[in-house]
């Protein structure tokens, strides 16, 4: 692998290590809220927002508190508490100050606490030993990759709602079969373009 420039991390996060389709992080929301494009977009917005915040806060927490005190084994517990607290805080602030944003994102915020994508970003940042700048770039690109796939998936599902398929395939199996084809496109991406 070439040295990890910020651009390489950015492209990695969007396409090659795409969270939904390649790494299977955050699949509950992938099959749960992609029934229409509007809610998929709302969910993606909330995820990007919380991902960046969580990456920042957890980086500070890990580097300046856990590492100096030699408490790395507490990282999982502290990260999950930080994310849960952060989601609550964001919900309060947004509801108080930006009611319009709250109406469109509000119902998705509680879902994010148990979304593996957010905790996954934070843990991958620590595991890859990214610097502050690198972890921010990685979380932004992971969020963008998540959004792209969510929007694509929800548009396809909207268009295929009226397709006549056997009743056993309708619903979740159909969503997984669509995901198969999307995933094929993404997998070929990193085979064709060697980075």
């Amino acid at each position: 692998m070439v040295e990890e420039s910020l651009f390489a991390i950015f492209m990695d996060g969007i396409f090659i290590k795409n969270f939904l389709i390649i790494q299977f992080l955050g699949l509950c929301s992938f099959v749960g809220v992609t029934k229409d494009t509007k809610s998929a977009a709302g969910m993606s917005g909330a995820v990007i927002f919380v991902m960046i915040l969580a990456a920042t806060v957890s980086y500070i927490l890990y580097t300046y508190i856990l590492v100096p005190l030699d408490l790395q084994f507490l990282r999982l517990i502290s990260f999950i508490v930080v994310i849960a607290a952060l989601v609550q805080l964001v919900e309060f602030v947004v509801r108080k100050n930006v009611p319009a944003l709250y109406r469109s994102l509000g119902i998705y915020l509680p879902l994010i606490t148990t979304n593996c994508a957010v905790l996954g970003v934070v843990l991958l940042n620590v595991m890859n030993e990214y610097s502050f700048m690198q972890s921010i770039v990685f979380s932004v690109s992971a969020g963008i990759g998540y959004t792209i796939v969510m929007i694509m998936m929800s548009s396809i599902r909207e268009r295929t709602t009226l397709v006549n398929v056997p009743s056993a395939v309708r619903g979740l199996p159909q969503a997984f079969l669509i995901a198969t084809m999307l995933s094929m496109a993404f997998v070929n991406y990193f085979k064709v373009i060697p980075i």
């Binding site: 389709i21 509950c28 508490v81 849960a84 199996p173 997984f176 993404f186």
Partner: protein
């Protein structure tokens, strides 16, 4: 006693974590590239599920209902940290293969779902049986998906050094080991399960 057996069977069939309740999809798809990884993952999940179900059921009268979810998450995170460290120390290759998915057991909806829906309301023995049933159901599904993907993708199943099945194949479909294979396998399996359910409903009525 028959009640306990029913609870156990229910975790495998009707309330099966993957096909019945559609929970815990991330690990189900991500780690099933081989049977070995599938067994490792379900062993980790089973330990956390059983231990947290027993502890939550013991403490169910002490936990105030307003603060129950944070307490559940802390209890689960503690057990996941134990699994994480034990696997890192004793099975390094498995730890490498499962990667970020071991710490992510903490956000696996199966565990918090069983805690909230069952362990919080029932006694210790029943909670233990319920956790055992759910873990067995999860193990069976993961091994099934892992087996299908490994045998089609590599032409053989090698688990912990033993070559269990080998089919002479000219050109194994590497596709099945890659991410699309996971989506395809679970899509088809889920369609079969839905078909069976619909048949059963027809016959029942």
């Amino acid at each position: 006693m028959s009640n306990a057996i029913n609870e156990f069977i229910r975790g495998i069939t009707k309330d099966n974590p993957v096909f019945g309740l559609v929970l815990g999809l991330c690990p189900t798809l991500a780690v099933t590239t081989s049977v070995e990884n599938a067994i490792g993952m379900s062993a980790g999940t089973a330990f956390v599920l059983i231990a947290s179900n027993i502890l939550i059921s013991m403490l169910r009268k002490q936990i105030p209902s307003a603060a129950r979810l944070p307490i559940f998450i802390l209890i689960i995170a503690t057990f996941v940290s134990i699994v994480d460290m034990v696997m890192e120390a004793y099975t390094p290759p498995l730890y490498e293969a499962l990667g970020v998915f071991i710490p992510l057991i903490v956000v696996n909806c199966i565990i918090i779902g069983r805690a909230e829906a069952y362990a919080n309301k029932n006694n210790v023995f029943n909670s233990f049986i319920d956790a055992l049933g759910s873990s067995t159901g999860f193990l069976l599904v993961l091994v099934l998906i892992g087996g299908i993907r490994e045998i089609l993708g590599t032409g053989q199943i090698v688990t912990f050094g033993y070559n269990i099945v080998a089919i002479p194949m000219m050109d194994p479909a590497t596709f099945m080991i890659l991410p699309p294979g996971a989506f395809l396998t679970i899509g088809i399996l889920m369609a079969i399960v839905n078909h069976r359910k619909a048949k059963k409903l027809e016959r029942g009525e």
